[in-house]
Symmetry: C2
DNA sequence: ATAATAGTTAATTTCTAGGTTAAGTATAGT
DNA sequence: ACTATACTTAACCTAGAAATTAACTATTAT
C-alpha cells in the first residue's frame, strides 16, 4: 500500500469530472479496462477528441495506462475516487445537520437587531 | 424532508468545485453565512469577480441567498454536498477493491494469448 | 515490403472561464 | 437631498476547453 499522501490537485480532479464523456469513461473503466479506440467508438467521438479527454483524466491521476503492442489499455485508478471521498468526508459535518444555516443566521441577526433597539 | 430527487447537473456541480476560490467559499459558508463583499475581501477579489463565482455556485444549486436590506447573505446548501456524496457512493464498489483492475486484465490477456498459442 | 490498425500531434475554430474597469441600481445613514 | 455602501451589469481581454480535419508515428498482419 504505497498510500503516500500525495496532495491531490483538486482543480484537476473536479475539472476532469465536470464532463459527461469523462464521467462515463470513469464508469466504464470501473467495470473493465478498455482501449482508447474502444472508448472513442463507444462515445461516438473522434480519436483526437477522446485522446484529449484521456489526457485530462491522466493529468488528474484518475486513470492508469498500459501499452500492450500498439494498443493502450486504460483502467480506473481506484485511489483517485478514494481520495475524492476523503476530501468530501472533511465536509461531513457540513451536511450532517438538517437545519439550514441561513435560517439560523437570519434569526440570529433579527434577534441582535431587537436587542440593539432594547439597549 | 423535501428530498425529491432532482437530477443534479453534475457538470455544473463538478465545474463549480473545480476552482480553489469556490471550494474555499463553500468551506467558509459551511462555517457561517457571509455577505458577498465579505467574501470578496476575504479572497482578495473584486466584487464583479466574486459575483461571477457566486453565480456559478448558485447555478450549481450549491448555495442559498437571502437579501436583507442591501446586503446579500449567502449560505451553503447542505443538500448539494449530500447529493454529491450520493453520486460518489454509486462508485463505492469501484474503490472497494484493493486490486487494480489493470493488473487483473493484463494477466487475463496474457493468459488468453498463451491459450491461443496452445490451441 | 506493404497495407491496415492504434494512437499521437498540429493547426484551426468556436465557445466559455475568469479576470479587469467603468457605469448603473438599490438600500442605508446623515 | 446627498453620500456611502452593497451589489449588479456591460464591455472588454486573455487563456483554455472541446471539437474538427489532416498529417504523422508506431506496431501488427499479410
Amino acid at each position: 500500500m504505497t498510500d503516500i499522501h500525495i496532495p491531490q490537485d483538486l482543480d484537476a480532479v473536479f475539472g476532469a469530472l465536470a464532463n459527461k464523456h469523462r464521467r462515463d469513461i470513469i464508469y466504464v473503466l470501473g467495470l473493465q479496462p478498455c482501449s482508447i479506440s474502444f472508448l472513442a467508438e463507444m462515445r461516438g467521438l473522434s480519436l483526437p477528441a477522446i485522446h484529449k479527454h484521456i489526457k485530462i483524466l491522466e493529468d488528474a491521476d484518475m486513470i492508469i495506462r498500459r501499452k500492450m503492442g500498439r494498443t493502450n489499455y486504460l483502467a480506473l485508478n481506484r485511489h483517485a475516487l478514494r481520495r475524492l471521498q476523503n476530501w468530501l468526508m472533511q465536509y461531513h459535518t457540513y451536511w450532517g445537520s438538517d437545519e439550514e444555516t441561513l435560517e439560523n443566521y437570519a434569526q440570529f441577526l433579527s434577534r441582535s437587531k431587537t436587542k440593539k433597539k432594547e439597549q
